[in-house]
């Protein structure tokens, strides 16, 4: 392994310079370092102005998502030894950028709030009965609880890039998590958003979201299941003309 690695970063410092620009740093290359360690080395020793988010350093907080050589990556679990001697780092694709490698999360958090990501219980539910759930019932939705909101899926999804209003993979998967939860009765309420034209119908099953997801949530699968479920809801509503309360 070489002694150093060249890290090229796409900078954006809006108060100083309107356009983005590339900056190169030579960073020591340790066998047990991840790309996040290289970025911290840059910030500590070479250039304190480099801005990026990170927290847990163990792929559970979802803060450090970036494009590494055009691949959506959590830089805390990308080892330098697995990369060539020069790497390029950019902020996550398809998302607005605040500064350097910090993407704007507000668009996403708005979308997340819209899908009502919480259990909507049945109205007359006794506090003893309502919270019981068998292992089988949990198993059905457990996978979709694993999302760490890292937004790698948004960077991978071309429909997010092509349709900025698209709710997107992570938010839709979380809606699915609640729709599948046996304690929840809110599917039809969520359909107002998830089955809208900005919801699941923007998805064309490219599937790249599931490919890049570090937690194996499979948002693509979740969305297709929601397409089917909301279509059947729609059909039932048209056939039975029931009151959607």
């Amino acid at each position: 392994m070489a002694d150093t690695i060249t890290v090229r970063v796409l900078r954006y410092q809006p108060e100083a310079e309107e356009k983005t620009f590339w900056q190169e740093y030579e960073v020591p290359s340790r066998n047990d370092w991840v790309i996040l360690d290289a970025l911290n080395y840059i910030k500590d020793h070479l250039d304190g102005s480099l801005s990026f988010r990170w927290s847990c350093h163990m792929a559970v907080c979802g803060s450090c998502g970036m494009m590494v050589d055009d691949e959506p990556t959590l830089v805390c679990k990308a080892f330098l030894r697995d990369y060539p001697e020069s790497i390029e780092i950019k902020p996550l694709a398809n998302l607005p950028v605040h500064r350097d490698l910090m993407s704007d999360m507000d668009g996403f958090t708005d979308k997340l709030a819209k899908v009502k990501p919480y259990v909507i219980p049945a109205e007359a539910q006794s506090s003893e009965e309502g919270c019981q759930q068998s292992p089988e019932e949990l198993a059905v939705f457990r996978q979709y609880t694993m999302c760490i909101n890292c937004l790698l899926c948004y960077a991978a999804c071309p429909q997010v890039g092509l349709n900025p209003g698209y709710i997107g993979p992570a938010a839709l998967s979380l809606a699915h998590r609640y729709n599948l939860d046996s304690r929840d009765t809110g599917r039809r309420e969520r359909n107002e958003v998830t089955a809208s034209d900005e919801g699941v119908w923007e998805c064309t099953f490219v599937g790249e979201c599931s490919e890049v997801c570090p937690k194996h949530v499979d948002p693509a699968g979740a969305i297709q299941q929601m397409k089917l479920a909301s279509s059947l809801d729609w059909l039932l509503d048209k056939l039975v003309r029931r009151d959607k309360s």
Partner: protein, 118 residues
């Protein structure tokens, strides 16, 4: 936001894709081998095929087996051309109408062919 009426397009798309996946390759193989002359026994002879299609049940099946893939293709083509470049609202509207109207015309022709003169 409100729940979209997309299912009216998506359900035929999904059904058509399923029909196409399960049924089209074998039909294609039969027609290809017969027209290329590799099958003996007059597989696609007029009397034979006409007699087969004459059954109302067969014609009903054919309506779905041939018709659903039309709608699958129309919707998928629309989404793909959108992916490839149709970005403005006008372009998208023209594209959608173009695709679904074509499928509609083909479906009408299919229905006519399966009902007239049998």
């Amino acid at each position: 936001m409100a729940a979209s009426n997309k299912p009216i397009i998506w359900l035929p798309f999904a059904a058509g894709g399923t029909v196409a996946a399960f049924v089209m390759p074998s039909i294609m193989v039969v027609v290809l081998l017969a027209t290329a002359g590799y099958l003996s026994g007059g597989v696609l002879d007029f009397e034979r095929i006409h007699g087969f299609v004459a059954h109302p049940f067969i014609r009903a099946c054919l309506f779905f087996l041939v018709g659903l893939p039309l709608w699958h293709a129309a919707h998928r083509l629309r989404m793909t051309v959108q992916d490839l470049g149709a970005r403005s609202a006008t372009a998208r509207r023209i594209l959608a109408y173009g695709c679904y109207l074509s499928a509609g015309v083909a479906t009408l022709l299919l229905a006519y062919s399966l009902m007239h003169g049998w």
